[in-house]
């Protein structure tokens, strides 16, 4: 389908369209999946779907170094994974951010982007789902949420309670059959740490030939520096 002149819908998905897309078979590129969805009538507004907090978290870890360098080696050492069963709570200290995820697993249609907004009642407790709320077409997985407690008081988070609202927006896009799907963030069911490359690799791609880095290592008996592998 490459008919450029065809009028495509635009704007935010209404409840009726959300329901229509959810009824399509999963093999249909236009299908939308949000699962598990408890009490469908209550979970949906005129233009959004309520999402709940999942039971897994990544908490920031105190690093042995005085800095955090987002590179290939350290990216996975920044967090501690924690499971908080439903019925239990997680304490988020004042002014701290944790990574959580939605309880719902989501598959977006090929022609829709999504945005997650903090539920207003949650936002009024000074808990904010921060900074990377945009979801690309065809994304599937539980959504990783950066949950910040911006208050001066520790706040309890209960997995299973509403945390955000999903808004879907049309993307004017032609169907590309048999297109391969990006596998970088494909299908997570828990919050995921970002997969970084080393900074010099990223910068080389835009022509930067010299990059300042901090590498851990030891100075050997001959006085030469050996980088830690």
């Amino acid at each position: 389908m490459t008919n450029k002149d065809e009028t495509r819908p635009c704007g935010v998905f209404a409840r009726e369209e959300i329901l229509y897309r959810m009824a399509l078979p999963v093999s249909d590129v236009r299908s939308l999946v949000i699962t598990p969805l408890f009490d469908r009538d209550k979970a949906m507004d005129a233009d959004s779907v309520d999402l709940r907090l999942g039971a897994y978290f990544l908490l920031p870890r105190s690093l042995p170094e005085a800095y955090f360098s987002p590179d290939q080696r350290t990216a996975t050492s920044q967090h501690v994974k924690v499971h908080v069963p439903l019925g239990q709570y997680l304490v988020v200290p004042a002014h701290q951010t944790v990574l959580g995820s939605t309880l719902e697993f989501i598959k977006l249609p090929y022609d829709a982007s999504g945005e997650i907004l903090t539920t207003s009642s949650v936002a009024r407790t000074f808990i904010v789902v921060e900074t990377a709320p945009w979801i690309h077409p065809e994304y599937r997985g539980c959504l990783t949420l950066e949950i910040a407690n911006v208050s001066n008081t520790p706040v309890l988070l209960y997995p299973g309670r509403p945390i955000g609202q999903l808004i879907l927006l049309h993307v004017a896009r032609a169907l590309e059959p048999n297109r391969k799907i990006d596998s970088t963030y494909f299908g997570p069911i828990q919050p995921e740490a970002p997969p970084f490359k080393n900074p010099e690799e990223d910068l080389r791609k835009i022509g930067v030939r010299r990059t300042a880095v901090i590498r851990k290592g030891i100075v050997n008996e001959e006085g030469r520096f050996e980088a830690e592998r």
């Binding site: 078979p25 999963v26 093999s27 999946v33 699962t35 598990p36 969805l37 408890f38 009490d39 469908r40 439903l86 697993f105 598959k107 599937r140 539980c142 391969k180 799907i181 990006d182 596998s183 494909f186 299908g187 997570p188 069911i189 828990q190």
Partner: protein, 306 residues
């Protein structure tokens, strides 16, 4: 408390941990023997063990110490097969597939040793033959026998293995009377396993009905709980999800990888990553299923108390 040992490399693997059902079987078997009010099927099995010993071994094993040892061996084999069948009745072919993976990992599935009994366990070949028979009786086998998988081919081959190829060696001497005696007990073990797992009737039919839909979800990288209905009426059971996912793991993982940018099924590291994802989606599906069931129950309760 039940202690279950799984090789350290398999600890995080959901599919490998399906073998815990076998270990639960040990607990159930022990409890069946503990009670004063024993089930008739258990009493018949105990009688069959005595008869098998009397008719096949009592003439050759004479001393009290050796007799006690021989009975312990027969009982250990009986328990192991019961636990396998208990697991298969509860879990379907996914248990057999997990057992094949496990036995292969510890080098017990070679053609030269697959027929070998030891003092604690019957031969892997016989264990899998009995599981295949159980799957056939309970309706599962028809749904999986056509899978283009090495696991299924292996089960078919072992199902046809000639009984004289089973052997039990003790002190480097083969004792055929032992395996002969044990073979007479097998039908009673099947009866007892079926007797204690009446709840599993219908699991194979649900799988036959839902496997295609679950497969479709997994092929599109979607947790199969999307098939769950709020009222649970037409939802796949966790057992169907687990079995469909294991079948997908054995046959369709390359198809999933082929849909993804830069992924190749012949790259072991990438294949492992997607096998782990598949397990994660299955676990999530099972968890969601429990949550939705609890939620539906709670809503029904709320309505009835109004």
């Amino acid at each position: 408390m039940v202690f279950v040992e799984v090789p350290y490399s398999q600890g995080p693997s959901f599919f490998a941990n399906l073998m815990i059902y076998h270990e639960l079987g040990h607990y159930v078997f022990e409890k069946l023997g503990d009670t004063d009010d024993r089930r008739p099927a258990f009493t018949s099995l105990v009688a069959a063990m005595d008869r098998a010993f009397g008719e096949n071994l009592s003439d050759t094993i004479k001393t009290p110490g050796n007799r006690a040892w021989a009975k312990r061996v027969l009982e250990a084999w009986t328990t192991e097969v019961f636990c396998d069948l208990f697991a298969v009745r509860n879990l379907g072919p996914a248990f057999s597939f997990a057992l094949i993976d496990f036995l292969s990992l510890i080098n017990l599935m070679g053609e030269d040793i697959e027929g070998k009994f030891d003092e604690e366990h019957p031969a892997p070949a016989l264990r899998l033959r009995e599981q295949q028979r159980c799957l056939q009786k309970s309706g599962w086998w028809a749904s999986v026998e056509g899978l283009p998988s090495g696991h299924v081919s292996l089960m078919k081959r072992l199902a046809g293995k000639a009984e004289p190829e089973y052997f039990f060696e003790f002190q480097e001497k083969v004792i055929p009377a032992f395996t002969g005696a044990f073979l007479t007990i097998l039908p009673l073990i099947h009866e007892l396993a079926a007797d204690v797992t009446p709840h599993s009737e219908g699991a194979a039919a649900d799988f036959a009905q839902q496997a295609g839909k679950i497969d479709e979800c997994l092929l599109h990288g979607v947790v199969p709980s999307s098939l769950l209905a709020e009222d649970n009426a037409s939802s796949p059971t966790p057992v169907s999800m687990i079995n469909a996912a294991y079948c997908f793991h054995l046959t369709n993982l390359p198809k999933l990888m082929d849909r993804l940018d830069g992924q190749r099924a012949d790259d072991l590291r990438q294949r492992m990553k997607w096998a782990e994802k598949l397990e994660a989606w299955t676990v999530k599906g099972v968890e969601d299923s429990q949550l939705l069931a609890a939620s539906a129950k709670s809503r029904t309760h709320d309505k009835s108390t109004l």
